[in-house]
Amino acid sequence: MYDTIIIGAGMSGLAAGIRLAHFDKRVCILERHSAIGGLNSFYRHRGRDYDVGLHAVTNYTPKGARRGPLAKLLRQLRLAWDEWSLAPQVGSSIAFPDVELKFSNDFELLVSEVAQKFPKQKDNLRRLVAELTDYDQLGTGDTGRSAREVVGSFIKDRLLMEMIFCPLLFYGGSKEHDMDFGQFSIMFRSIFLEGLARPLDGVRLILKLLIRKFKELGGELRLRAGVDRIAVKDGAVEKVVLANGSELQARRVLSSAGLPETLRLCDDCPNVESPEVGRLSFVESISVLDVQPCSLGHDRTIVFYNDSDEFHYEKPNEPADVRSGVICSPNNFVYGQPLADGVVRITSLANFDRWAKLDSEAYRRAKLHWYDNLVASAVRFVPDFRDSVIDTDMFTPTTIRRYTGHHSGAVYGTAKKRYDGTTHLKNLYICGTDQGFVGIIGTSISGIGVANRYLLKM
């Protein structure tokens, strides 16, 4: 009998597991894959290391900062800042036709860009920042207010509104067009007021750090241990049944598999109201270059682009929507040494159904076709790197489903979050994306918050 079984060895599950193991709980993490990480994972392909998910760690604050989610996370997990080896971004931008806003980990750069390009909005931006709700442990994502309405009451320029929303929706929007103002506050802080960073070795360094800590504390990790169903008795989880038929018992179960995905595992799911599966998924092209991107004049860490004055954050009808996207170069962080290869990753909105119905040959051809489309669209906003490409890969909504288990490859989960982490069963809780926090720091805080609130009690 475990004290807690955790479903999913992603960031939130690992963070929760560390908390529980640290305080001597008997805890087991079940991961259905042979690798950990969930949405933020990594793989090796033709001799090279690739990251999935993570472009950058958001919520970056420098060593010694005592405030903010990163500092909170480090304290809660008993980790030193240096262990994360975070290198800050060089600088990013939001690129729309005829206007570009640069931003960095110093918020004043964005303020001065706005002052220059939207002079009448500078003071409004300051007023908006003063209005942001505070980032706290649980529940703050839900204010019941539309972010577009609240932001629109401060920012009186439609184009600037679209430019501010573009990065925030791309990096955490679980519903189309808009988000809750609480979510907006969290995202705005994490990207613009705090900032972006990345370890030289990518997300695998962070995952390895967390899993080592978890195991040192006596936590148990089972890989290739997919959950087949959650047996329910008297309004509580009775046992967890694995795909291989074995049965496990625990006083409490914490699932990071997503809210609708978790509810569907429960025996009593036909009687339970479940939120809709999220509609938003992504494709990503990965280009490996034989030069550093900056040698081609591409020195931005992330470029959020959109090719018209209006940003359409919605599920496209086509397999991918290349009107907008996110161009990330993991080379463009301030490391002590350069990355071995040049890399450019381009992410755009995608339609899960269009990819899921393809047979393997059509899928392979579609990947090639959309790789070309994504890159052709992106090079309108960054220097053309196509002559330097020596290898490519592509991930699609079906790849995301495979890694995250989220139905429809919904990266940021369902649009209807469960901010308090509870479910219809008294000993089943959820954490991670569907509890309401995104980004690797946010989702880890989610695991910690739910563990503290419900699972550390005797």
């Binding site: 305080f23 001597d24 060593k63 010694g64 005592r66 405030r67 909170k72 480090l74 304290r75 809660q76 008993r78 980790l79 030193a80 800042w81 240096d82 442990q137 910690i448 503290n452 550390l456």
Partner: protein, 84 residues
């Protein structure tokens, strides 16, 4: 435990919670909140570490006694005097 040992025990917990902090000149009469910007999650952790390490139970209504090093040590003295 002596008063000095109790102070050392609390310092060890703080060093564990905030490994990047320099605690060498921590003042006894200034709150942890003001000196280290500890928040409610951190105070809960001090309580839980005391329970884990020394089997001391602190009721929730008495968490406020842990505001500063001085008040914490004073509060813990009777509870920890018999701890080896």
């Amino acid at each position: 435990m002596t008063t000095a040992e109790i102070r050392k025990a609390v310092l060890d917990i703080l060093a564990d919670i905030a490994p990047d902090e320099d605690l060498s000149d921590l003042k006894d009469d200034v709150t942890f909140r003001d000196q280290l910007e500890l928040d409610s999650m951190d105070f809960l952790d001090i309580v839980m570490e005391l329970r884990k390490r020394y089997r001391i139970q602190i009721p929730e209504e008495e968490y406020t006694e842990l505001a500063s090093m001085g008040s914490t040590v004073k509060y813990l003295e009777p509870l920890m005097k018999d701890v080896e």
